[in-house]
């Protein structure tokens, strides 16, 4: 039922995936800003060290509530069907993200330098 080649396949895939996870974890660094995008367009850029609550979208239609507290960002509320974004743990490392696919919303952590350029560009 299981051939040796199946095990080799599984092993190779597992090693590649684990190596990628280790690499991501070793190279991660603290982020500085939270970039919120809707469908790829930047909706808002917020500093990570300032406690705020942001409603993305409007309460009449599709919305997500983002909370920044104690240097961490978390989606506290949303009216999307799957609620994956609300279940996601808080994020604060560079390149971590919370995605709400039904609403096309992404909340992404970035380091300060890159985002300064973004803010000027916007």
């Amino acid at each position: 039922m299981i051939k040796k080649s199946d095990l080799i396949l599984a092993g190779v895939i597992l090693i590649i995936a684990l190596a990628a996870i280790v690499f991501i974890n070793v190279t991660k660094k603290e982020g500085a800003v939270v970039v919120v995008t809707i469908g790829g367009d930047v909706y808002k850029t917020l500093p990570l060290d300032e406690d705020t609550t942001l409603t993305i979208g409007d309460k009449q239609g599709d919305y997500n509530v983002l909370e920044i507290r104690g240097g961490e960002a978390k989606m506290t509320e949303a009216n999307c069907p799957d609620k994956i974004c609300v279940a996601h743990r808080s994020i604060h490392y560079d390149h971590e993200s919370i995605i709400c696919l039904p609403h096309g919303v992404s909340v992404e952590i970035r380091d300060g330098e890159k985002s300064d350029v973004d803010m000027i560009a916007n």
């Binding site: 039922m1 599984a10 990628a20 995008t37 974004c85 995605i99």
Partner: protein
């Protein structure tokens, strides 16, 4: 169409439909966009090994349309189509290669499903940051694919024992 195939289609679509429903009521343990258990792939892979690639494709697509209209919407259907097609493609290729048993084929199918979904997701949110989820999606596809492949092999062995499959 042979009567045998009509019976098989009916039975497998019903089974795929039920499995999709069961999957929809199981909460996802890890909140990663695009992650799926892929229970219905059990039916697609069984069809692939008992009926053939074409039949497996038809089944997979019919299931997605039916389930999409019943439990989902157009946007969830788009994710399923991408996942379903990439999964089917990888499974057919792996089966043709003849190196792997059903378990290996199913592992590639499970991974293909998750990668297909994340590709559409990247396109929808227009952001490559989702790539950071890829290693987790690959491992999840590997585990669920392996389990489904082993169960699928048991089902396939039993279906092949049925009298009407022996002509």
């Amino acid at each position: 169409m042979k009567t045998r195939n009509v019976a098989m289609y009916g039975m497998l679509i019903a089974l795929a439909f039920i499995l999709s429903y069961i999957e929809s009521i199981i909460p996802i343990p890890v909140p990663i966009p695009g992650i799926k258990i892929g229970l219905a792939n059990l039916v697609v892979i069984t069809a692939l090994f008992t009926m053939g690639p074409k039949q497996a494709f038809v089944l997979s697509m019919l299931r997605i349309v039916l389930v999409g209209f019943t439990f989902g919407n157009l946007s969830t259907m788009m994710f399923s189509f991408a996942g379903g097609m990439l999964s089917w493609l990888l499974m057919v290729a792996a089966k043709r290669w003849k190196r792997f048993s059903m378990t290996g084929v199913s592992i590639l199918g499970g991974i293909g499903h998750n990668i297909g979904q994340i590709l559409v997701a990247m396109w929808v949110i227009n952001n490559s940051v989702l790539l950071y989820y890829l290693p987790f999606l690959i491992i999840s596809g590997l585990v669920t694919g392996a389990v489904i492949g082993i169960v699928g092999a048991l089902i396939t062995a039993n279906i092949k024992k049925l009298d009407f499959m022996k002509n």
